[in-house]
């Protein structure tokens, strides 16, 4: 039995139960529902994980004794998946992603990517394997001495592709990443976003099975970050490419990842589909990351202020996940109860597997009616939480 099978079965179960839940929640027409899920299932082409990490450990010897950068990690990533790893600096995510193309070798354990055991192969075999694993970097790492075209051609030169074919492929890639007309520019003449596009084109040159993104958007401004993330999603969908990315920004995870692993002190402390992690973050560190995208600091102040100003009302935090984000809960609330509803702050974030949102409302009126309104909210497929003084 292949190592991935057990995990895959487990994933199937998860998929099945979430299908059933969604069916209930959505009251979907059977046909439309099936075609939706068929799409989702077929987008997970592989039955085996394309990346398989088993009991990986990495210990660095430093002046202050050994440091465990990666501590006993087991992980598998399915073909066609966008898998995110989030953690603060020093969490070991950088070491972990470098194990996937052999830039770091694990002290113990094994790493398999696209059927090759990266952790043990060496020399020519390792170099061949690396040609099938693209990587992009925070600081782009382009060769300043080469033009855009020549930079993109570099991995093709390494792979020994003939000149004519190289030129053809480079032209395709330039179009794919939207850099038409910049082929003869030098990196110094490009903006950060354009440089990362060159990095992406370069990483895709040899048709890799996996793309590794090492903090690929951390050096970019928010707008450019979004355009690069859109490009990554586009590539993932068009080419079915598996993407593994590391970041410290929850925004990146929220926007493009299917699954996320939260790392702390060299270990994965939480792992799951992005929406589930958003819905029920368990570890304190995960909660902090989730708050990055859901609860801006100012809302806390606003709420404290409102709590002081309106001691009679109740302030409720509603959390919408997936389908329920699209339901008119607030409309229902106002229609059915004699209460005033004051929306304080709201935010809905799109993730790759559905929407996730929080809404802070103040409910005022007769205390009994308010209590009934809160009870109504509790009965909905919405997580609600009455906020009081902290």
């Amino acid at each position: 039995m292949k190592p991935g099978n057990r995990l895959f079965k487990k994933r199937c179960q998860i998929t099945r139960s979430s299908m059933l839940r969604e069916m209930r929640e959505r009251n979907f027409e059977r046909k439309a529902f099936l075609s939706l899920w068929a799409d989702r299932l077929f987008s997970w082409k592989g039955s085996d994980p394309v990346i398989f990490i088993e009991q990986a450990k990495k210990v660095f010897q430093t002046k202050n004794g050994p440091v465990k950068a990666v501590d006993n990690i087991n992980l598998s990533v399915q073909e066609g998946e966008i898998f995110g790893m989030i953690g603060y600096s020093g969490a070991g995510k950088s070491t972990l992603i470098r194990m996937l193309n052999g830039l770091e070798t694990p002290t113990e354990g094994s790493v398999t990517v696209a059927g090759r055991k990266i952790s043990t192969i060496k020399g020519t075999e390792l170099r061949k394997a690396r040609q099938e694993i693209g990587m992009i970097f925070q600081h782009f790492n382009l060769l300043w001495s080469r033009t855009v075209r020549e930079n993109i051609a570099f991995p093709l030169e390494i792979a020994g592709v003939a000149k004519a074919e190289r030129d053809k492929r480079v032209a395709e890639l330039i179009e794919l990443v939207g850099l038409e007309g910049r082929g003869d520019s030098y990196p110094s003449q490009l903006s950060g976003g354009q440089k990362q596009r060159v990095g992406i084109a370069r990483a895709l040159a040899n048709n890799p099975k996996v793309l590794l993104c090492d903090e690929a958007t951390s050096a970019l401004d928010p707008q450019t970050t979004d355009s690069i993330l859109d490009l990554l999603v586009d590539i993932n969908e068009r080419l079915g490419l598996t993407i593994v990315l590391i970041t410290h920004e929850m925004h990146v995870i929220r926007k493009i990842c299917h699954r996320v692993a939260v790392m702390e002190n060299g270990q994965i402390v939480e792992l799951g589909p992005v929406l589930d992690v958003f819905r029920r973050p368990e570890q304190p560190i995960t909660k902090r990351f989730v708050q990055q995208v859901t609860e801006p600091e100012e809302s806390k102040e606003t709420i404290q202020h409102l709590l002081t100003e309106h001691p009679d009302g109740k302030i409720v935090k509603l959390t919408f996940v997936g389908v329920s984000a699209e339901q008119p809960v607030v409309t229902e609330l106002i229609r059915s109860f004699q209460v005033g509803v004051n929306i304080l702050q709201g935010k809905i974030s799109q993730t790759q597997n559905g929407a996730y949102g929080t809404l802070f409302v103040q409910i005022t009126g007769d205390p009994a009616e308010v209590a009934r309104a809160v009870a109504f909210l509790d009965a909905q497929q919405v997580d609600s939480e009455v906020i009081t003084y902290e």
Binding site: L103, Q131, H139, L143, F154, N206
Partner: protein
């Protein structure tokens, strides 16, 4: 005018000496470049955290480089007389100056190569490794092109130092402008010959500097 200001200058001799200086400088620059590159690459690649990290090789290379770099050139020539005699068969003339010039300048250039290579962004080398490049490919397609401006400006400095070395070598019988200035100028108290030889050396130096600067400007796309 030349009759009035430089009455003792024998132009034919001056041209011949200029040619000899250029010949010595030219040949020694080429060989210094090759040896210096090899030594510099060895120093860089075997240093800590690099592709061929090897403390023993690095230390031995570094010691050899430092020793030859520290010996004053005029003493180096004298010390190398037996060596020169063995490999060149003579200790007089332009060719006899070459071993000393190269051995004096190559370690100097090797250090400059090492510094130039160190300035390369480590991330670029990592990117090349991630693409599956071999060490040889990295040297040829990353290290050398990415450090080219620094390598060229280092070579310019080395070439200018070599012009100075040829003048010193000239004093002990290697020919060239240094020889002319010393024998015809200084020893026969003809200051105009010394001054003229100096002017020619200055012109050579300026030309080298100009060529070097232009090349660096053309190469540097940062």
């Amino acid at each position: 005018m030349s009759e009035q200001w430089f009455p003792n200058v024998d132009w034919e001799k001056m041209w011949e000496a200029t040619y000899e200086t250029l010949y010595m400088t030219g040949i020694s620059v080429v060989i210094t470049f090759i040896i210096g590159m090899l030594l510099g690459l060895l120093l860089f690649l075997t240093s800590k955290g690099q592709l061929w990290q090897n403390r023993a090789v690095y230390s031995v290379t570094a010691i050899i480089v430092n020793v030859f770099r520290s010996i004053p050139f005029i003493i180096l020539i004298v010390l190398l007389i037996p060596f020169t005699k063995t490999i060149m068969g003579t200790i007089i003339g332009e060719n006899a100056a070459l071993p000393a010039l190269i051995i004096g300048a190559a370690p100097f250039y090797a250090r400059m190569v090492e510094i130039a290579l160190r300035e390369i962004d480590k991330g670029v080398v990592e990117a090349a490794r991630a693409m599956g490049a071999s060490t040889w490919t990295i040297i040829r397609k990353v290290l050398i092109p990415e450090s080219m401006p620094a390598l060229v400006s280092g070579l310019t400095v080395t070439a200018i130092a070599l012009v100075g070395y040829t003048a010193m070598a000239g004093v002990i019988g290697a020919g060239g402008l240094g020889n002319l200035a010393f024998l015809d100028g200084f020893q026969r108290s003809r200051n105009d010959v010394t001054v003229m030889a100096t002017i020619v050396i200055l012109i050579i130096v300026f030309i080298i500097q100009f060529i070097g600067d232009t090349a660096v400007r053309k190469l540097d796309k940062r």
